[in-house]
C-alpha cells in the first residue's frame, strides 16, 4: 500500500470518465436541442407568474416532468405525454421537482383551464376538496367591500366566503394563474426529442421491426 501516485491517477481518471459521460456529453447533447416545435416563449404575465411559482416553492410538492408509460401511468392520470428536453427550453432554472405530494403540473393548463377554478383553489383548496393538504394562499388575495371594474372576484362557497364584501385576486395571483393556464405541453413531441425511456423504446422498436417483417411476408 505504498503506490499512492498510480492510485490517485487511476481514481481521477475514473472520475473524469464518469464526468465526461454523465455530465459533459449529455450537456452537449441537450444544449444542441432547440425549443420543441409548438413551445412558445413565456409572455410577460406568464414570466411574472413563473416568478411567483418559484418564490412560493411550488416545486417542493409539484413536479413538472410527466413520465413515459413504461415508467408511470402518468398519461392515464391525464398528466400529459412524457416530457422531452426541448420542452424546458425557456425554463431557467427548470422547475422539474422530484416530490409528487401534489399532482404533476406540466400539463395543468390543458387539464384545468379554468381561471375561476384556479383562483378558488389557490384561495382555499379545501373549498373544493375537503381532504386537500395543499396550503391556502390568502395573501395572494384581497378583501374588498365592493369589487372595482377591473377586479377579478373569486367565486367562493358560503362556508369560505367573507360575511360581507368580496375576495378579489391580487396581480400575483392572476399572474400565477396565467402561468398555470399556459402550461400546455400537448403539442407532438419532436422526433429527436431527448428522453430516457428506459428499455421501453428498444422494446417498441423491436416490436415495430417484427410487425414490419410479418407484414412484408
Amino acid at each position: 500500500m505504498n503506490r499512492y501516485l498510480p492510485l490517485a491517477i487511476t481514481a481521477l481518471a475514473i472520475l473524469a470518465l464518469a464526468t465526461l459521460f454523465l455530465v459533459i456529453a449529455p450537456g452537449m447533447q441537450i444544449s444542441a436541442q432547440g425549443p420543441s416545435q409548438g413551445l412558445k416563449p413565456y409572455t410577460e404575465a406568464e414570466a411574472r407568474g413563473r416568478a411567483v411559482y418559484v418564490s412560493m416553492g411550488c416545486l417542493y410538492c409539484h413536479s413538472q416532468q410527466p413520465r413515459s408509460l413504461a415508467q408511470a401511468p402518468d398519461a392515464e392520470r391525464g398528466w400529459g405525454r412524457a416530457s422531452v428536453a426541448g420542452d424546458y427550453a425557456y425554463d431557467d432554472p427548470h422547475q422539474l421537482g422530484t416530490m409528487r405530494t401534489g399532482p404533476d403540473l406540466m400539463d395543468i393548463g390543458d387539464r384545468l383551464p379554468s381561471q375561476a377554478w384556479q383562483l378558488t383553489h389557490l384561495y382555499q383548496p379545501r373549498a373544493i376538496a375537503s381532504w386537500s393538504i395543499m396550503p391556502a394562499y390568502p395573501y395572494l388575495f384581497e378583501h374588498k367591500d365592493k369589487a372595482g371594474p377591473d377586479d377579478v372576484v373569486v367565486k367562493l362557497p358560503a362556508k369560505y366566503a367573507p360575511k360581507s364584501g368580496v375576495i378579489v385576486a391580487k396581480q400575483d395571483a392572476l399572474d400565477l394563474v396565467t402561468y398555470l393556464q399556459g402550461m400546455k405541453r400537448q403539442y407532438a413531441p419532436p422526433k429527436d426529442g431527448l428522453r430516457d425511456n428506459g428499455y421501453a423504446l428498444i422494446a417498441e422498436k423491436q416490436r415495430d421491426a417484427t410487425d414490419a417483417t410479418t407484414a412484408s411476408n
Binding site: G78, W117, I128, K155, P157, K205, A212
Partner: protein, 426 residues
C-alpha cells in the same frame, strides 16, 4: 537471564505470513473473457435491432410519401377499407343500409343525384335530422367525420361510395375535398333532408326542418355555461366553448340529456366522485341541471379529441367492435351504439371522447372509485381490461367522429325520463 535460544521444535514467533505469487487460475480468465464477449454481443445485438427498426420506419415514411404523390386519383381500394372501418357499422358492408334505421348508400337517390361531391359534404358535416332516401323515412343521425378524417381519406370514401357502390363515373380528388372543407368544414350538421335539399338539386320530397331553436335556452343556462355564478365556475371554462372537453375533462356535446342529468345528480349525492364537479353540482338546482343537460345534449360540435395515449388502435378497434370474450369483455358498441354514438337514455356516446378521460374513467371503474353505472356493467369491464387495453380503446374511440346532437323534439320526449334527485331536498 541468558538469551533464549530459539527452540527449533517450536514455530518462529516473529514469522510474517506471506502469500506466494501464484498464477490466476484459468477458470477465472475464461469466465472474464466469456463475460466480455457476451457484453460485446449484447451491445451489437441491441444496436442492430434499433438500426433495423429505424430503417423500416424510414421505408414506411417513404412509401407513405410516394403514395401521397400519386394521390391525384383517389385510391378506391383504400376507400373500400375506409368504408369498412368507418361506415359499414351502420350502412352495412355493401352499403345496403338497415330498413327503418340507416339509409342505404347502394342505389341511393341522394348519392345518385348528388354524386361524390354531395357525399363529401355529408361525410364532412354529418346529418342531424329526418330525411327520406328512396322514398323511405329515416331518423338521420350521422356523425361528422370532418374532424377525424383527412382530405385524402374523405376523397377516397366519397369516391368509393359514388363509383364503387353506385354507377357514378365521377370521383373526387383530395384538393377538391380541401376546397369543400374551406367552405363547409366548420358548419353544423345538415338539418336532415331539408338541409340536403339546399345541396342537391331535384331531391325528392323531404320531411320538414325541425331546426333546433337555440334561442329557447334560458338566460340562466347561458350565464351558467359562459360566466358561472358567484359560487360556481362557468361550465365552458373547463369543458370548452363547444363542450368538446380536453384531456381528463370530458366532451359533453351531444351526450344524452338523461345521462348528463344523472351524472350531475350523482355528483350532488356523492355516488360519483369528483371534487370539482361535486362542488359545481351542489350549487345547481334540479331545474338548472335539467336545462344544462338539455343544453349540452342539443349541442353539435366537431371532435376535440385525438389519440394521444400511444394505444394500439387495432386492439382498440377490436375491443370496441367485437369485444374480447377471452377476458369476458363485450364490444363497446353493443351498448354504446354503432360507432359509439350513444344510445339514449342510459348509454352515453363514447365516440370522439377525450382519450385521457376514457382511460382514467376505465381505471376508476376498475378500482371502484366510480361505481354509478346501471347494473354495475362498467365495473366488470374496467376490471377485465389491463392498462394497455384501456389506452388502446381510449385512443381508438378518440379517433372516431362525433355524433350530431339530438333535436329538441326528441329531447322533449325524453324529458320525462330524466331521473329526479332522490333525497331530503325533494
Amino acid at each position: 537471564m541468558t538469551d533464549k535460544k530459539p527452540d527449533p521444535r517450536r514455530p518462529d514467533e516473529t514469522f510474517e505470513p506471506f502469500e506466494e505469487t501464484r498464477r490466476i487460475p484459468w477458470p477465472v480468465y475464461s469466465i472474464a473473457i466469456a463475460l466480455a464477449i457476451w457484453g460485446v454481443i449484447m451491445l451489437v445485438q441491441t444496436s442492430t435491432a434499433v438500426q433495423v427498426a429505424d430503417k423500416t420506419q424510414e421505408e414506411v415514411t417513404k412509401e407513405d410519401s410516394t403514395k401521397l404523390a400519386q394521390a391525384a386519383a383517389p385510391d378506391l381500394d383504400a376507400g373500400k377499407t375506409l368504408f369498412a372501418d368507418n361506415c359499414a357499422t351502420c350502412h352495412g358492408d355493401a352499403g345496403e343500409g338497415v330498413a327503418g334505421a340507416f339509409p342505404p348508400l347502394h342505389g341511393s337517390d341522394v348519392v345518385k343525384l348528388g354524386g361524390a361531391k354531395a357525399v363529401t359534404h355529408i361525410v364532412m358535416r354529418g346529418i342531424g335530422g329526418k330525411l327520406n332516401v328512396n322514398g323511405d323515412g329515416y331518423e338521420g343521425q350521422m356523425p361528422a367525420f370532418g374532424s377525424v378524417l383527412s382530405d385524402t381519406e374523405i376523397s377516397e370514401i366519397a369516391s368509393y361510395v359514388a363509383t364503387g357502390l353506385n354507377d357514378d363515373a365521377k370521383t373526387i380528388s383530395a384538393p377538391e375535398v380541401a376546397d369543400i372543407r374551406k367552405v363547409a368544414g366548420d358548419k353544423d350538421p345538415f338539418d336532415g333532408g331539408a338541409g340536403l335539399a339546399g345541396l342537391i338539386n331535384d331531391l325528392p320530397a323531404q320531411p320538414n326542418s325541425e331546426a333546433a331553436d337555440q334561442g329557447a335556452d334560458s338566460e340562466r343556462v347561458a350565464q351558467l355555461v359562459g360566466k358561472g355564478t358567484d359560487t360556481v365556475w362557468a361550465c365552458a371554462s373547463c369543458h370548452g366553448d363547444k363542450g368538446e372537453g380536453i384531456e381528463t375533462v370530458p366532451r359533453l356535446a351531444g351526450l344524452p340529456a338523461p345521462y348528463l342529468a344523472k351524472q350531475l345528480h350523482d355528483f350532488q349525492r356523492g355516488t360519483r366522485f369528483n371534487d370539482s364537479m361535486a362542488y359545481v353540482a351542489k350549487g345547481l338546482s334540479d331545474r338548472e341541471i335539467g336545462e344544462l343537460a338539455n343544453y349540452y345534449a342539443s349541442m353539435s360540435s366537431p371532435s376535440g379529441a385525438k389519440p394521444s395515449l400511444q394505444g394500439d388502435l387495432k386492439r382498440g378497434a377490436q375491443l370496441a367492435k367485437q369485444g374480447d370474450w377471452s377476458i369476458g369483455v363485450p364490444a363497446c358498441f353493443t351498448c354504446h351504439g354503432p360507432s359509439g354514438v350513444g344510445v339514449a337514455p342510459n348509454f352515453p356516446g363514447i365516440a370522439a371522447q377525450q382519450p385521457s378521460y376514457v382511460a382514467h374513467q376505465l381505471a376508476m371503474w376498475a378500482g371502484g372509485a366510480r361505481h354509478n353505472s346501471p347494473l354495475g356493467l362498467m365495473a366488470g369491464i374496467g376490471k377485465a381490461l389491463n392498462d394497455s387495453d384501456r389506452r388502446a380503446v381510449a385512443d381508438y374511440l378518440a379517433s372516431l367522429a362525433p355524433m350530431p346532437a339530438m333535436d329538441k323534439t326528441e329531447l322533449a320526449a325524453m324529458e320525462s325520463n330524466i331521473p329526479v334527485r332522490e333525497g331530503v331536498d325533494q
